[in-house]
Symmetry: C2
Subunit: 715 residues, 2 copies
C-alpha cells in the first residue's frame, strides 16, 4: 500500500489558485482567498499565510483583496498545482479542461449544488468527476469545507480558523465538525497534521486520505468522523492496513439511531448497521469513541504517547478525592489498578512522607513538592507491575503548580521513562500551567476521567497490537465439508417454495458445512425408536409425531431423561397411554428421538447487511439473548484470529469457562464453527439469514440443538 | 425538619475572628485572614472581602496584614459570631471557653492533628467537641478547608480562590475537591451559594449542612462529594427529606474500588458497600454522578432549570454531525428522541428552509440565522410531544454566534417557555458567547454529550418527582405471618449448631413470613409419594432419598415431568430398578416429591452491610445472576413504593413481562415478597444472609424452589 502520489498536491502544493475569489464580505470566495493569503479569515499578514504562490481568479478581473484577479486559470500563465473552486456547479465541468491545461493536479470543489440536488445534480457531479479523472486530476468535494495542512502553512478551506501544526490527521464527513475540532484544539492545545473535509466524496474518499496519512511523517494518529460510506467494506480493508502502522480513532455519527431491520432470525434482529460498524472497527483495529470528549482525548494521547504494554495503571495524585475518582473511572474503561509490589512500596516509602497512601492511587499528599512528584515517578517508571501512569495535580495551599508541571515533564523526558503517561491538572485548563505538559508531549486534561479514558485508549491500542503479534491460534482437524451440496440444498428449498428451511433441510445444510447437530431421528414405531436411540448417545428425549397434537408437552407427548433401551420402550408406551387419555383420537405417526443435551447455550448466527454484506454473530444464547444482547459481530470472511477475538468479546466469559460446574467451552472448537459458518455463507449467497440457537456446550463438545436457515426469496 | 439555626453563624455571621492569624507567607493563618479581609488569597482590597467585622488574634499581638492583632478573643471586647482556628490542637480545647465568653456560636477548626493521629488525637478531638457543645457552640472540622458563603462575601477558608455567588450548594469531604470545583466554576461560569469542607466531621456532619441548605433561599441544588459517613443510614434519611425539596447530586469517591466481601449467599457476594450506597441514593432520590464532568453538568442544570415532565428530547442544531452525536448520547442516558407530531412538522416547515432535516434532531442548516433558531424554538416550546430541548450551535461561515446566543436566550426567557433547556456551543468555552447563556440561566457546555447528560439529570429528577407523587401501589391481601416463630426457628437452628439452615428449616422460616414455597414432601414409600403428589399440583419431580447416593441424576434417581398418580408409582419403580442396576446395594429410604415449576427465575435476597444494615436484593436469578449481575438493592425497611422502584430497575423487564410466551410477573406479588422479606429480616436480626433463588414466575404466581437462610453464629 504505497502512498498514492495523486493526493500530494492537496497537502504540498507549490501554487494554489482560488476560482471564484471575491471581495464580497461573508462570501466563500473571499474566505478562501483570505485563508490562503493570511492563514485565517480576517487576517492581513501575507507572512502568516501560505508561503507558495496564491492566485485569485475572477472572470471580472480587477483586484481581489489587493491581489490581481486573473480572468481565467489560463491567464495566470504559470503552472498551478491546486485549485479551490467556489463558483456555481454548472461552470465547473468546463473549468476542468482549463485546469488541466494549467498543469493542475488537484481540485477542491467547495461549491454545493450537486448530487444532493437530485438527478440533475447527480449528472452534473458525474460529468465533473469524469472530466477531472480523464485529465489525471483528483477532486476533493464537492460540498466541502476544504483541506488544511498546517505544517505547510496551507489553509485551503473557508473555515474561519486554522489549526496549529501537530500530529493528528483529521478527516471528517462533516465540515462543521472540522471547525468544531479546530476550536477545541485551541482550548485543549493540540495541533493537526492535516484536516480534510471530504463533503460529497465524488472522487477522493476516506480510504484515499487515510492511506496517504498512513505514510505521512507528520501524522502520528488519525482521527475520523464518519457518517456513511459508499463502500464500507473497502474502507475497512484499507483501515486495517493503516491501523497496523498508525492508530486510528473514529467516531461514527448515528451510532444508536439506526434501528435493527425487521428480520426473521435472532441474528437479523440484533444486527443492524451499527453492529456492522462496531464489528468492522474491532476487526480493523480502529478505536471507536462514542463522545467528542473521548474522540479528542484518545486522538491526543495516541498522537504523542506509546501504546501500553499491559492494562495495569498507577495513579499519582496530591489529593485523595480526585485520585479516588480516577481509580473509579479506570474500572469503567477496563483498566486494572496495578497492585504495587513490595519493592515498589519500599522504594516509595523511602521517598515519600510517612503518611502517603501506601497504596495505588499513590497519594503524595497535599503539601507535595515538585521533587516529591519527581521521586515518586522515578520509582513508578521502573516498576514492572505498572503499564501506564496517570498524574493528577490539584492546586492546594502549598502547591507550586508550575514547578510541579515542570517536575512531571522532566520525569517524562528522562530517557529511562518508557511507559505511557497522561495527566489531569484539576481546573487549570486554559492556563499556561494547564498546557505546559501538552506542549511537552504529555496530554493533560481538565477532568481526571478524561486522563484515564485517554490512558484506556493507549491500553486498548497496546492490546490490539499484542493480539496481532500473538502466535496463530490452534487449527483443528477438519471434518470434510461439501459446500456445493449445501448450495444445492438451499436452491432446492427455494424451488420448493421454502424460504424458511425445515429443520431436516437446515440440518443437512449444516452437516455439509461440517457443523455438528445433536443426534436425532424419526421412528415409525417403538422398535425403530430404540434403534435410533442406540445410535445416539443417551440420555435421549422421546417426542410424539402427530399431525393432531399442537403442544406436545401438554398432552404428555414428551419424555425427557430417557437413559436406556427399556426406557425408550417405556416412553413410547407412556406417550400412547397419555395421549389416548388426554386427546382421544389423536393420530400417532411415530416418535422423534433426540439426543438430550444440557449446558450453557451459545448462539451463532449470520445476517446480511445491505452495505457490509454477511455479518457473523456469536454470543450467549437461549432466552437471554434479546434481553442482555451479550453478542458480538464480525464481518465475513473471518480470520482465525477474528474468530478468537469475537469469542473474547462475550461478556459472560466465566460461563464459557465452565462456572458452576458446567462443561467448559473449547474455544478452538467454537472458532472452528465460526469459520465454517463464515465459509458456508460466503459459498452460498442464497442463505439470507442463519441462526444456530442454541449451540450447547457439552462434555463432548459443541452441539447444535436448533437451527434456522432462511433462504433469499428467489427473484 | 425546620432549619437548624445553630448553623447560621457559619453562613451569616456579623463578625469573624481568625485565631492564629499570621503574617508568614504561605501560612494557613495568613491565607485565612487574607480571604476574610480581601475575599481571596493575594487580594488587597478590603471592599472585596467580608463586609462585617474581621478580627485577627495572635498571642504575640502587634499587627497582621496591617490590622491590629488581638492577644486573645477576650481582648477584642466585642461579640464575635464565628471563629476560624489555625493553631496547634493542644490549645484548642482551652480556646473554646474563651470563645463562648466572647459570644461565639460557631467555630471552624482548620487545624489538623486530631483523630487521624491515633488515640491521643482522638481524645483531644473528643475533648474539644465536648467543650464546644457544652457551651452551645457548633464546630466545623477539624482538618478542613473551611466555609464559603459568596452571597455574604464570606470566605472563611484557606483556599486560594473564592467562587462567585450562585445557586449550587457544595459540600465535600475533600478540601481539594472544593478548590477543584471553584477552579471549574471559573471556567464553566457557575456560582455557589455555599461551599463547605467538613474535614473530620467531629461535630457538624453532612446531614446538618444539607438540612440547612434545604431551607436556604440562595441554594437551588446541592452538590455533594462523599467518601464515607459515620452513620450512613441517618444521612440518607435526611437526604430523602431534603431531596423532596431540592435536587441533590452526589459523587461517591471509591465507587468501584470496594470489593465485595466474602459471603455465603449470592446476595452477599453481590452486595458490598457500593451496592448499599447506590441503593441509598436511589431510595433517597439523590442523583449519583460517576464523573466530575457529570457532577458539574448535573448540578449546574438542576440549579437553574426545571425538572422535565417526561423523557422525550428534541435537539436543535445548525450542523448535522454534532446533532447526530447528541442524539447518540441521548440513548446512553436513557433519553428518548421525541417523535415530532404532524402538527410540529407542519409548523417547522413553515419557518425553516425546505432542506431542514424534517426530523429530530431538528437541523436548521449551516446558514441558520438567529431568527431561524428563535422560530424553531417557538414551535418546539409549544409541542406537547417534547419534554426538553438541547440547543447546539457550531460556528460556520455564516453564523453570527453572539446573535444566535441572544436569540436562544430570548426564546428561553419568553414566559410561554416552560420546558428545560440545555445548550452546547461547540468550541466556544471560555469566550463571552460561550457563557452568554450560562449567565441567563441556560447551562451551556463545550461538548454536546455534556449538554445531553445534563438534560438527562433534569429528566431523572422529573421521573423521581413523578414516582413520588404517583398513587400508592396496590396492596395485596396478606396471608398471616408469624415472625416470632420465625425467630424461634432461627434460634433453634443456631442452638443446634446449624449456621446454614437445612432446607426444611429454611422453608419453615419463609412460611412464617408468608412466602410461598413449591409444594413438596418426603415419602417413606410409593403410596405415600402418591398421597403427597396429589396434594401438590402436577407435574411433579420424584427424587430418591438415600444416604448412599451422592449425585441422584447420575444413577437414575430423579424422574421429571410426572403428571399423574400412575406416573408417580412408575417413577418410584423406575428409580428402584435403575439404582439396583447402577449402584447395587445403595439404601433407598424413600422419595421426595416436589412440585415441578418452570419459568423465568428471579432472585430475592438479603445481606447485612456493616454500615447500612440489611440490604435487600432483587434481580434475575439462575445461572446468569453472577455474570450479568442484573440485580438492584434497597435498604431495609422498604416502602411499597421502594419495592416497585427496585423491581423497575431490573434490566430484563421484557422477561418479567412475559416475553417468549412465559408467564408474566405480577409486580404486586413480587413487591409483597420483598416487603415480607424486609419485615422478616427486621424482626429476626439473627438472620445474617438470605437467598430465595430461584423464585420462579409461574402461571399460578411466584414460587420459591430453593432457598438459603444463614444465621449469625451465636456469639
Amino acid at each position: 500500500m504505497p502512498r498514492d502520489p495523486s493526493l500530494d498536491p492537496f497537502f504540498n502544493p507549490k501554487s494554489v489558485a482560488v476560482v471564484g475569489a471575491s471581495n464580497r464580505a461573508g462570501s466563500v470566495g473571499r474566505a478562501l482567498l483570505e485563508n490562503l493569503l493570511y492563514g485565517f479569515t480576517g487576517g492581513s499578514e501575507r507572512s502568516s499565510g501560505f508561503p507558495g504562490k496564491v492566485f485569485a481568479v475572477n472572470p471580472k478581473g480587477g483586484e481581489v483583496l489587493g491581489e490581481k484577479a486573473f480572468e481565467s486559470l489560463a491567464a495566470i500563465g504559470e503552472t498551478i498545482d491546486l485549485v479551490c473552486v467556489a463558483i456555481p456547479p454548472k461552470y465547473i465541468t468546463a473549468l476542468m479542461s482549463e485546469a488541466a491545461d494549467a498543469g493542475v493536479k488537484g481540485v477542491i470543489v467547495i461549491s454545493a449544488g450537486f448530487a444532493e440536488m437530485g438527478d440533475e445534480g447527480k449528472a452534473l457531479q458525474a460529468q465533473m468527476v469524469e472530466a477531472a479523472k480523464a485529465r489525471g486530476m483528483r477532486v476533493v468535494g464537492p460540498n466541502c469545507l476544504g483541506v488544511m495542512r498546517p505544517s505547510a502553512g496551507l489553509n485551503a478551506s473557508f473555515g474561519a480558523k486554522a489549526p496549529a501544526p501537530g500530529s493528528i490527521g483529521l478527516l471528517s464527513q462533516s465540515g462543521a465538525l472540522v471547525t468544531g475540532v479546530i476550536s477545541y484544539s485551541e482550548q485543549e492545545k493540540f495541533g493537526l497534521s492535516a484536516a480534510v473535509s471530504l463533503g460529497a466524496k465524488a472522487d477522493v474518499e476516506d480510504e484515499d486520505v487515510i492511506s496517504w496519512l498512513a505514510d505521512d511523517d507528520k501524522t502520528k494518529a488519525l482521527a475520523i468522523y464518519l457518517e456513511s460510506f459508499q463502500e464500507p467494506r473497502h474502507f475497512f480493508q484499507v483501515a486495517s492496513q493503516v491501523s497496523a502502522k498508525k492508530p486510528i480513532v473514529a467516531i461514527k455519527g448515528g451510532a444508536t439511531a439506526a434501528g435493527a431491520k425487521a428480520a426473521s432470525s435472532h441474528t437479523g434482529s440484533l444486527a443492524g448497521s451499527m453492529a456492522a460498524y462496531r464489528a468492522s472497527f474491532s476487526q480493523a483495529g480502529v478505536l471507536q469513541a462514542s463522545t467528542i470528549g473521548d474522540f479528542l482525548a484518545w486522538s491526543r494521547a495516541l498522537a504523542c504517547q506509546p501504546a501500553a504494554e499491559g492494562p495495569r495503571l498507577a495513579i499519582v495524585t496530591n489529593a485523595g478525592g480526585p485520585g479516588v475518582l480516577a481509580a473509579d473511572a479506570s474500572a469503567l474503561h477496563g483498566i486494572e489498578l496495578a497492585t504495587l509490589s513490595d519493592q515498589t512500596m519500599a522504594a516509595l516509602n523511602e521517598v515519600l512522607p510517612a503518611v502517603w497512601s501506601h497504596n495505588n492511587p499513590v497519594d503524595v499528599i497535599g503539601d507535595a513538592t515538585p521533587e516529591r512528584y519527581t521521586k515518586a515517578l522515578e520509582v513508578l517508571g521502573k516498576a514492572p507491575e505498572i503499564d501506564g501512569v496517570v498524574v493528577i495535580m490539584t492546586v492546594q495551599a502549598m502547591t507550586d503548580p508550575a514547578a510541579v508541571a515542570e517536575a512531571i515533564a522532566k520525569a517524562h523526558e528522562n530517557p529511562a521513562w518508557t511507559k505511557p503517561m497522561t495527566a489531569s491538572f484539576i481546573g487549570l485548563e486554559g492556563t499556561d500551567v494547564g498546557h505546559y505538559l501538552d506542549e511537552r508531549g504529555v496530554p493533560e486534561f481538565n477532568f481526571p476521567e478524561r486522563a484515564v479514558s485517554a490512558m484506556g485508549a493507549l491500553m486498548k491500542r497496546g492490546a490490539w497490537l499484542r493480539r496481532r503479534d500473538a502466535p496463530e491460534p490452534t487449527h483443528l482437524e477438519l471434518p470434510p465439508v461439501d459446500l456445493d451440496r449445501a448450495g444445492k440444498l438451499v436452491a432446492d428449498a427455494v424451488d420448493a417454495g421454502q424460504k424458511n428451511l425445515d429443520l431436516s433441510r437446515a440440518r443437512d445444510v449444516l452437516a455439509c458445512a461440517g457443523i455438528k447437530y445433536n443426534g436425532s431421528g424419526t421412528a415409525k414405531d417403538d422398535d425403530e425408536a430404540v434403534l435410533i436411540a442406540e445410535k445416539i448417545a443417551f440420555p435421549v428425549v422421546v417426542k410424539v409425531v402427530s399431525p393432531d397434537v399442537l403442544h406436545k408437552s401438554d398432552v404428555g407427548g414428551v419424555v425427557l431423561d430417557v437413559v436406556d433401551a427399556d426406557g425408550v420402550r417405556a416412553a413410547c408406551g407412556e406417550i400412547r397411554r397419555k395421549i389416548a387419555e388426554r386427546q382421544p383420537g389423536a393420530r400417532i405417526d411415530g416418535f422423534t428421538v433426540e439426543q438430550q443435551v444440557k449446558g450453557t447455550e451459545i448462539i451463532v448466527g449470520m445476517s446480511r447487511d445491505p452495505d457490509f454484506g454477511p455479518l457473523l454473530m456469536v454470543g450467549m444464547g437461549g432466552i437471554f439473548v434479546e434481553v442482555y444482547k451479550d453478542v458480538s459481530f464480525r464481518l465475513v470472511p473471518l480470520s482465525r484470529r477474528d474468530a478468537h477475538d469475537v469469542i473474547g468479546e462475550i461478556e459472560a466469559q466465566p460461563l464459557l469457562d465452565g462456572a458452576r460446574e458446567r462443561p467448559k467451552l473449547d474455544r478452538d472448537e467454537l472458532a472452528e464453527v465460526l469459520l465454517r459458518v463464515s465459509n458456508l455463507v460466503e459459498a452460498v449467497p442464497a442463505i439470507e439469514e442463519l441462526d444456530l440457537n442454541p449451540l450447547v456446550i457439552t462434555e463432548r463438545g459443541l452441539v447444535a440443538i436448533d437451527a434456522r436457515v432462511i433462504a433469499k426469496a428467489s427473484s
